[in-house]
Symmetry: C2
């Protein structure tokens, strides 16, 4: 039986992949993923069997990967960002179940919290929370409760999936919850198309973020009460005492 | 004026660095960092001027890097894990202040939440919080409040710096706070020496984690109420609905 690797390819720029991710893709026979991500890497890995599945076809994608593995192929399932953070790694393990015959490995990648933060400065320099605003798989009440707790704990927050054409008001509703605890002038930032064409960042206040238009290629960052703008960058100090 | 790059080198294994981190180090004249991390990469970058500073000498390290930069050198400051998450990126920006003459760039890396998770399975497959238990720069009351809120929000939690010889009881105290909201049999795991000699993982319950000995090379993971052990791995499902 061959090995099934779940590989985080980072934000999109080839150079943001780890050496291990590149080696793993080079060593694989088949590469399975969402069409958009397959397109991002296809040119770098000639001679591979690429299997693109549509968005939201996550379970189908994982079953295909496991089937190819059982057929003796060395398979890599690619995820944007990291393989585990809102990625396919958990689903592959769930679908494999207790079948130890399929060997699974997880190859980490730069998740948007890390790659977007690098563009904005250092917004996640202290304790932080990562919350997805997509209610596709999670009831909105759970998301709301998480936001409430993150704000109550004065966490820096990275917001994934802050909007789409179907969920135009998710970011506004999220910011309204955060504003119950955080000041309206809390330093915030957004990063769009990280590592891809059209990459852009913008700093703003939490009140401004509430009214910001966000799409599915945006990651939003909310500072904690100590986050400041220094030299045009969003900076959360590593601690509350002088160093 | 040259460029000053703050580079996350990942957990320790050379292969877990991004291509961009490798290129940045190759293009630099001087590499500044904590002795232990300099030792991890020194052999890979012959001909560089290495400047090792002691632990806790973070501000000194950053001032040295900025001074070398002003002297015309291409400088890289290395951080274990990511450059921003509890890293040097924020401090470099703080010390640079509004002096736009020094160009700073941040090159992200795999932080222990991501690299440790990959070893354990997929513990951070849904919303998560990252909390450092080090009270060196943060009052313990702030840490306590964050833990309380993370548990109240049913976040998965990655605990950084869970212990050292000076803070033997930090992990126990943290778990006691988490146990106010989370079940004693909540799935937990620890990863030690990620990407280095002696790498090891262990799964356990939250009650067991409370009594676990942890050192500064350990990262601990606490699941949310949906986290399960599947095929020997710690898995947090991506959502609460069937996929």
């Amino acid at each position: 039986m061959a090995k099934c690797s779940v590989v985080g390819i980072g934000p999109g720029d080839w150079r943001e992949m780890t050496l291990r991710a590149v080696e793993t893709l080079e060593a694989s026979d088949a590469i399975v993923g969402y069409q958009l991500y397959i397109d991002l890497i296809r040119g770098r890995f000639p001679g591979k069997d690429f299997h693109a599945t549509p968005m939201r076809g996550e379970a189908e994608r994982c079953r295909l990967a496991l089937a190819l593995d059982r057929a003796g192929q060395r398979v890599a399932v690619i995820c944007s960002g990291d393989a585990g953070v809102y990625g396919m790694a958990g689903l592959i393990y769930e679908l494999r179940g207790e079948d130890a015959e399929v060997e699974v490995e997880v190859v980490g990648g730069l998740t948007a919290a890390v790659s977007g933060a690098a563009l904005l400065g250092a917004p996640l320099g202290h304790d932080f929370a990562v919350v997805s605003l997509s209610d596709l798989l999670t009831p909105w009440e759970v998301i709301e409760r998480r936001l409430e707790c993150a704000a109550a704990g004065d966490f820096c927050v990275a917001l994934y999936n802050p909007g789409s054409h179907k969920r135009r008001d998710a970011l506004r509703r999220a910011c309204e919850i955060l504003l119950r605890h955080a000041r309206a002038d809390t330093v915030c930032g957004v990063a769009r198309n990280i590592g891809r064409a059209g990459e852009a960042t913008r700093l703003m206040t939490l009140a401004e973020l509430r009214d910001c238009e966000a799409d599915m290629f945006t990651t939003a960052f909310v500072g904690n009460s100590h986050t400041r703008v220094i030299g045009g960058k969003m900076i959360t100090p590593r601690g509350y005492r002088n160093v």
